[in-house]
């Protein structure tokens, strides 16, 4: 029984962290590829490396500190944050799937980044612009990954596992992304975001409840129940939204 509950929690944690990291990595990689192919790889890689160092420092600074927070208080706060964050992701994904909001188009993001870099071609600060653009892209997308890894990892007492899964996701998407270069738009990003949203809301419900002394039926197995429940609700809401939604063209969206 113990092995079952441990593996259930771990499987959902791995899925949530992997999907969240993969989605953000696709977005960051698009910007880095645009910078690298337009301005040369030196500044792009320097900006990427600098952002990764800052993000690693954030994990090193806040990760161990969070472990010392009383578990119920941590789960209540983290659960609350995940509940809000997850509902925001899910809402956006539902509106995109239903056609009420423009889908995130990596080809368009790539073209826009290249246009921005080309427009600044005569600037004497050419390398600085490329560095800043790569840094910002990796740092801002990476920050969401850091928050997901720290909150999910510490609340589940599996920070090490969360960090390893995040690293695997980043490396896998990086390798595949570089191999397919500019075909990142083929990644089913909205479906992945929907999956992450469902998992974040599930974890948010579970942990905020535990933080408030709610005893879930089946303990950790209740997580799977929440995933199923929120998937059904998401599917129903997409249907409602799609029914009379105006078609929105694919364009750059936040």
């Amino acid at each position: 029984m113990l092995a079952t509950t441990v593996s259930t929690s771990a499987v959902v944690l791995v899925g949530a962290v992997f999907l969240a990291c993969a989605v953000e990595m696709v977005e960051a990689l698009t910007i880095v590829l645009a910078v690298g192919q337009t301005r040369g790889w030196r500044s792009a890689l320097q900006g990427t490396f600098a952002a990764l160092v800052v993000l690693a420092a954030l994990v090193a600074a806040f990760g161990p500190a969070l472990v010392h927070v009383p578990i119920n208080a941590l789960r209540l706060v983290v659960g609350g944050v995940l509940l809000i964050f997850g509902m925001q992701w899910l809402r956006k994904a539902i509106l995109r799937a239903g056609g009420l909001k423009a889908r995130h188009d990596e080809d368009e993001v790539y073209r826009e980044a290249v246009a921005t870099l080309d427009a600044a071609a005569s600037s004497p600060n050419r390398d600085r612009i490329a560095f800043v653009m790569a840094f910002k892209g990796v740092f801002l997308e990476g920050l969401e990954v850091v928050i997901a890894v720290l909150t999910l990892g510490t609340s589940a007492h599996r920070l090490g596992l969360a960090v390893v899964v995040a690293a695997v996701a980043v490396v896998s998407v990086g390798v595949v992304g570089i191999a397919v270069a500019r075909q990142l738009s083929r990644v089913p990003e909205n479906a992945m975001k929907m999956g992450v949203g469902v998992m974040l809301v599930s974890f948010g419900t579970f942990w905020s409840g535990e933080g408030l002394h709610v005893k879930w039926p089946g303990n950790d197995v209740a997580l799977l129940g929440f995933v199923g429940l929120y998937l059904v609700v998401t599917w129903l809401l997409v249907g409602v939204v799609r029914r009379d939604a105006p078609r929105v063209p694919r364009e750059v969206a936040a």
Partner: protein
Amino acid sequence: MNRQWIVWRAVKGFGMFWWDFLVGDTPELFVAAVVTLGAIALISVTGHANAAAVIVLPLLAILSLTASVLRARRAALRERE
């Protein structure tokens, strides 16, 4: 003075980040989550009604999400008209 300005900018930036992260363009979801957790605290911690909390917490989360999605849908349809 310069140091104070740097500290102020850092604090402001930190506050703005969390505001954007948690509230952003969906303040209704933030308020709904706070109300939900407040209700569960009353039911579970004060009222010791675990069975009710088990049902009410996911139910309120679903209602909050549904209300927010329908609000966005209404706004989009109004824009179309």
